[in-house]
Structure formats: structure tokens, C-alpha cells
Assembly symmetry: C2
């Protein structure tokens, strides 16, 4: 059995989801004729596999979760949307006349965001982009993208990159997911397995697969607010406010220490 090729799985998926939604361009068909929904497949390192419809990456604001709308009200000044994907959030900020840059590591996602009209895009990691002269007032991590902190090793490095990109008074507005409310034995035992290996319970090790392509394996962090607070220590950032109205999801606002 052949292994999938390593590549821009997320971008290929977003390209197809965009083609299906707009009806423009080649897209996967069942039996060569019937459109089929684009599904994101995520493998976890314990062998778990999950699929979820990918269409939500293209959702217009009327289909968003309530916390996405509340997050936008927390933005001010020049916004860097990190993990901007197909530009769902950044496009809305742009429509509202705000200065916004969409950053993503996926060429396919950036391509779709630009085709959808997002003007200011960056294809880079935050580390790479932190060497540029750009400065921001708000860093936005929506769609569970607090997960990009990855874990205790990566989080301080990631946060230091944001500090370099920060104007005075800058804030991070991030949406996280507390993984510990579940009683599903598949997840409870995964959390235990992680802790036994010295990892945070919700420090997921994942890869994306789409058709013939897989991403590399990467860490993605689902953590509690308490764990986030702990991760921030010594980074020069602190929790300023937390909105837990949509549990298990939450919005965390982080600011620079004075």
C-alpha cells in the first residue's frame, strides 16, 4: 500500500472546497459526474481518524459561531490574522474597512484567499514573518488556532515572534478549545497517554490528509484556560480577559506585560 505524498494537503482541500462552493474549476466528482462534498481528514498519532466537512472554512459571517463575531469586536488597529486559511475572517475585517493581513503557511489557502478578494496576504510562518518590518496591534487566532501554540516547547517561541511583530499595546485574540469536558474513552485515554509521555493532555499530534496528499505530522494544542495561563508565564504576555460563553470553546485576550 502506497503512502500519501507529503504536501499542501490543507491548500488542496481548500482549493476543492472553493471550487465546489463556487461551481468554478475542476473538483472531485463521484463517478465523474456528481459533485461530492469536500471532507477534511485528520489522523491522530494513536490511530484515530476523523473526517469533517471542509465547507465551513468558506462560511460567510451569517454562518459563523457566535464567538467569532465577539472576537471581531475585540480587534483594533492593524490586524494580523494568523492561520487565515481561505480568508473567512480577514475578508470580513477588510469589508469593515480595517487594516488586516492574512498569514498562512499553505500556498493553496493563500491562493484561495486572494481569489476571494483578500488584498494583503503573507505566505509564511510567524517566525519567518517576524523578520519583516511589519508591526501589528492585534494578532487573531480564530478557528481553534490557539492550537498553533503547539505545546510548552513551541509556545514561548511562537509568542516571542508575535512580540517582535507587536506595536506597543498590542493584543492577541485567540480562540481555544478546552478538551477536558469529554467522557469519550477514546479521548480520555489519549489525554492520559499524552501526560504519561510528558505532554499536555490535549497536545494533539496530527496530520491532515486530502486525497493523495498528507501534511507532515504536527502538534496542535487544545488546552484549558488554566494551562494557557501557565504557558504564558515568562513569555512577556499575560491573560487579560477570557470569554467562556460558548464552552468548550473560549476566547482569550492576551496583552504584553508592562
Amino acid at each position: 500500500m502506497e503512502q500519501p505524498a507529503i504536501g499542501d494537503a490543507f491548500g488542496e482541500m481548500i482549493r476543492d472546497a472553493y471550487a465546489v462552493r463556487t461551481g468554478i474549476g475542476p473538483r472531485p466528482l463521484a463517478g465523474g459526474r456528481l459533485p461530492r462534498p469536500v471532507i477534511e481528514v485528520i489522523e491522530r498519532d494513536d490511530g484515530l481518524i476523523n473526517g469533517a466537512p471542509a465547507d465551513h472554512y468558506l462560511d460567510e459571517p451569517d454562518a459563523w459561531q457566535p464567538h467569532d463575531h465577539r472576537a471581531l469586536r475585540l480587534c483594533r488597529g492593524h490586524v494580523l490574522d494568523i492561520g487565515a486559511g481561505a480568508g473567512r475572517i480577514a475578508l470580513e475585517l477588510q469589508r469593515r474597512g480595517m487594516a488586516v493581513t492574512g498569514l498562512d503557511t499553505s500556498p493553496g489557502a493563500i491562493e484561495v484567499a486572494r481569489r476571494r478578494g483578500l488584498r494583503d496576504t503573507v505566505l509564511s510562518t510567524v517566525d519567518g514573518y517576524a523578520r519583516a518590518a511589519a508591526r501589528y496591534d492585534t494578532f487573531l487566532l480564530l478557528g481553534n488556532n490557539l492550537g498553533l501554540l503547539e505545546g510548552p516547547e513551541r509556545a514561548p517561541v511562537f509568542l516571542a515572534a508575535l512580540a517582535r511583530l507587536a506595536n506597543p499595546g498590542a493584543r492577541i485574540v485567540a480562540q481555544g478549545a478546552d478538551p477536558y469536558g469529554t467522557r469519550d474513552p477514546v479521548h480520555v485515554s489519549y489525554h492520559e497517554r499524552n501526560r504519561a509521555r510528558g505532554r499536555l493532555g490535549g497536545q494533539l499530534r496530527l496530520r491532515l490528509r486530502y486525497r493523495l496528499v498528507a501534511s507532515d505530522w504536527f502538534d496542535y494544542l487544545n488546552c484549558s484556560v488554566e494551562e494557557l495561563d501557565e504557558l504564558l508565564r515568562g513569555t512577556g504576555w499575560h491573560l487579560d480577559a477570557v470569554d467562556r460563553k460558548d464552552r468548550p470553546y473560549y476566547l482569550a485576550v492576551m496583552e504584553r506585560d508592562r
Copy 2:
């Protein structure tokens, strides 16, 4: 990275799809709270992975494809529904007062079919069941289940088992999918790769994955009507009629040679 356990992936998926549809029993939740759609994940031996919502296995007749309805009009006498799954088709035949047995190799699928009210079920391969004394007038292979012919090696064995289970004048009513209408390079090159290995172009090698469980790898045949006609030679069965109204899907009616 751990490999998935080998088990009744299809059955576990059907159990969850049933729990999600009825709202009864434990089912996968996002973040421990929000219901998530049940997705069937299929891997192909070239590394292709596809996901598709599993809910259609539970569809009531008003949501069926038109050829499913036409297939039921071709049934007569005692019906063996092969690969009955969650009992979608068999339950409707039972409602109409027909004698119908639902056969499947998945314990989880049979369990759900019984919970949904299907009275006559068999947990077996057709080969195993052909050793029983039961006899049928119609063998039903819907939901692409002509694919259970697998390929040139398996087809005569499968058809011989049906011959042993057949009353005089019995027919097979099977729904197939012609795979050769596609121009998708992912599929076109897979067909070529198969032929280079002495297989039929659409002789798929697949496994199902659902959460922590995978099926064994199996062959599943998408073939043209012409290939089917060829496969039937010497088996004692022949094509009696073909309904191609819903291309690339078709209904094939096969009868015993006289």
C-alpha cells in the same frame, strides 16, 4: 504513530450514525458537547483517502436515488439483500410485505438493522450462508454492491454461492458504477496502474477507517456493463437487462442460464 486496530469499522460507523440520527446512545461529540457528523473514511491502495457523510446508509425512501426505487420494482418472491448494512432497503421491502432477509458481514450493521425493526437477518458471507438450506428468488446488491464481485477471481465464486442459494428462475438485481467516465487524473492513472498489474481498471483495493478501527484491505469492483458481461461468462448467470438511466450508475438484472 500507531496503526488502527483491525475490526468492524463499518459497524462502528453505522452504530454512531444511528445514534446521531436518533439522538439515542453515546456518540462522537466535538469538544465533548457538540454533535459531529459521522464520516466514512475510505483509503485506497495508491494512498488516496476520501471521506463521505455516512448518514445516507440510514436514509428513508424519500431520500433515495431514483435507481433504488426502480430496483425494488424488479424484486419478486423471497429476497436476499446482500450487504444489507443498516437495513435501508430490506426494511422498505419488509414494510411492503415482502419476504426479505438482510445479510451482512458486519455485526454492528446487523445490530442496527435489527434495532430498526428488520426481522430476518444473517451475519455471514454469502459463501457461509450458501451452506444453509435457505433459497431465494431475488438477490439484491444495491448501494454499489455489485462491487462485492471484487474482480475476475472472486466473481465466479461469489456467483456460484448465489447459484446454490437460488430457487429456479431466481435473479440478481445489482447496482453498479461505471468508473470510466471520469477525467480526474487521480482516477485515470489509478485505472492504468491497475491494468498494468493485471487487474480490471476499476478493481479498487480499499479499506474503511472509522475512529480507532480499520477494516482489512479488500477488493471492490467498479466495472462497466461490458466488463460485467465478460465476468459472467461461464458462471451460469447472464445479463438479462440493464437500466442506465442514472449514469454512471446502472442496474443490472442477471438470470440463470437455461
